[in-house]
């Protein structure tokens, strides 16, 4: 039986989004759009793990401020990060006192959280939030080497983004605060949960290649259910990076569809990649969260983008399974986001 996309008939809207980011990200092309940043990536904390928690707190706080919602009015928050036991989220969101679901979908968690929060709102909750983060320093410690370790990065190795993104969803269009600059309200119209796909990649520094088949699988299933790539202003993947993006375009082309004109990758958008160590692009669940929150969604609100497919991509391995010579399965979750033109803009 073919799995169909889940359509959310009841309107579920993204009331606001916000982000926090580190110094490398602040100096990147999207730097001015982030709501909070830190020159030493510490965010005033004494450990990298707490710094990542603080980024989540700052991002959600900023998003709540933009929506003009009180934390006590949120029914649930879905949050995740890359650390063991999901600690950046647990500790970062503790002070809000919002009912909490911790998620792990590797770098796909931003899309996973958006899907679950939108379905929660579609099923009776009023307001929900989705928050994700990654921090270069805490991720490097967990997945690779100590920070001061003198290693060489291979050309395909992606750079874990130091950033967090928060999204606040509501089931009521009139609940969304509108100002003069808002021409459309982003609505999550349909979602397509991802299926883990393992195509035998075992190189930890070529995760784009591990995730691309999963992204191709989810997109192909979505297009087969009756959508054409040309309908979308942008098809935004999470963090396939340079190699992964190229592979995805080829895999989609082999199904007779073309996404070369409207495909962008958050990992390639967040840095000026050429000439730096970030040559293969960014990764991490803070990457797509921050780019969506501070670039893509604001453009939907401004009416620049009318319809966007967001495909969060993740690599579902751990350092332990890699040491055990395991392969790296990829996963990709999809959200179909439409800008509903406001009455004022009509």
């Amino acid at each position: 039986m073919t799995r169909l996309p889940i359509r959310i008939e009841k309107g579920v809207y993204i009331a606001s989004s916000a982000s926090a980011a580190g110094k490398n990200e602040k100096e990147g092309p999207l730097g001015s759009a982030f709501d909070a940043s830190s020159d030493d990536d510490r965010f005033g904390q004494d450990t990298w793990e707490r710094a990542e928690s603080e980024m989540q707190r700052l991002a959600l706080d900023a998003a709540l401020g933009k929506a003009d919602f009180d934390p006590s009015s949120l029914d649930a928050v879905f949050a995740g990060d890359l650390l063991n036991q999901c600690v950046a989220s647990n500790y970062g969101l503790l002070s809000f006192g919002i009912p909490f679901f911790g998620l792990y979908g590797a770098c796909s968690t931003a899309a996973e959280g958006l899907i679950l929060a939108s379905l929660f709102c579609g099923a009776g909750a009023k307001r929900c939030a989705a928050v994700t983060s990654s921090h270069f320093c805490s991720a490097e410690r967990q997945f690779r080497f100590p920070l001061e370790y003198g290693g060489q990065r291979t050309p395909t190795a992606q750079w874990t983004v130091t950033a967090a993104g928060a999204f606040i969803l509501t089931d009521d269009r009139d609940d969304v605060r509108i100002d003069a600059s808002v021409r459309a309200i982003p609505r999550i119209a349909a979602v397509m949960p991802g299926i883990a796909v393992d195509r035998g990649i075992d190189d930890l520094s070529n995760m784009g290649a591990a995730m691309a088949p999963a992204a191709a699988d989810t997109l192909t299933r979505y297009f087969s259910a009756g959508a054409d790539p040309g309908e979308f202003d942008l098809i935004v993947t999470g963090d396939l990076g340079r190699e992964g993006s190229e592979i995805l375009r080829d895999l989609i082309a082999s199904t007779g569809r073309d996404i070369t004109r409207n495909h962008v990758d958050c990992g390639m958008m967040i840095y000026d990649c050429d000439g730096t160590d970030r040559h293969a692009g960014g990764s991490g669940c803070g990457c797509s969260a921050a780019v969506m929150a501070s670039n893509i969604l604001p453009n939907v609100r401004a009416g620049v983008l009318k319809r966007v497919l967001f495909v969060g991509t993740g690599a579902l391995m751990s350092p332990l399974t890699v040491n055990q010579k395991g392969t790296i399965p990829g996963i990709a979750h999809l959200c179909d986001i439409t800008g509903e033109v406001t009455r004022e803009a009509k």
């Binding site: 110094k23 320093c137 490097e140 920070l147 520094s205």
Partner: protein
């Protein structure tokens, strides 16, 4: 001239490791283990000693030299004291380097903080 020999032999040992890293994606940790055990083996079969005589620092500074030191320590200790040398010789010969690395490393953790890469 002796410095040139040290430079060339030491440089060549590094190039060999670089090729392994780039071509086989071998991790740095495995390279280090490979080099130290290779040093023990080459020392044991009598090949590394002559290289040390030829290249000086070019053979003793790379991690293969650390392995050679262990094998030489084991051999000398067995020659002098018999079977107990099997357990004593290696670490005794390498004691200075090991202590320096652990002591300086632990001390560094008290004075320095890790920082993000740019």
């Amino acid at each position: 001239m002796e410095y040139l020999r040290a430079f060339i032999v030491g440089g060549a040992l590094c190039v060999l490791a670089q090729i392994l890293i780039d071509k086989t994606r071998m991790s740095p940790g495995r390279i280090l283990v490979l080099y130290v055990t290779a040093g023990v083996v080459l020392g044991a079969v009598g090949l590394y000693g002559p290289l040390v005589d030829f290249a000086g620092g070019g053979a003793t500074v790379p991690l293969t030299g650390f392995g050679y030191l262990i094998s030489k320590g084991v051999k000398d200790a067995i020659d002098a004291e018999g079977a107990v040398g099997i357990l004593k010789g290696g670490v005794t010969a390498a004691a200075g380097g090991i202590t320096a690395a652990l002591f300086f490393g632990a001390a560094a953790s008290l004075f320095f903080k890790s920082r993000p890469k740019r």
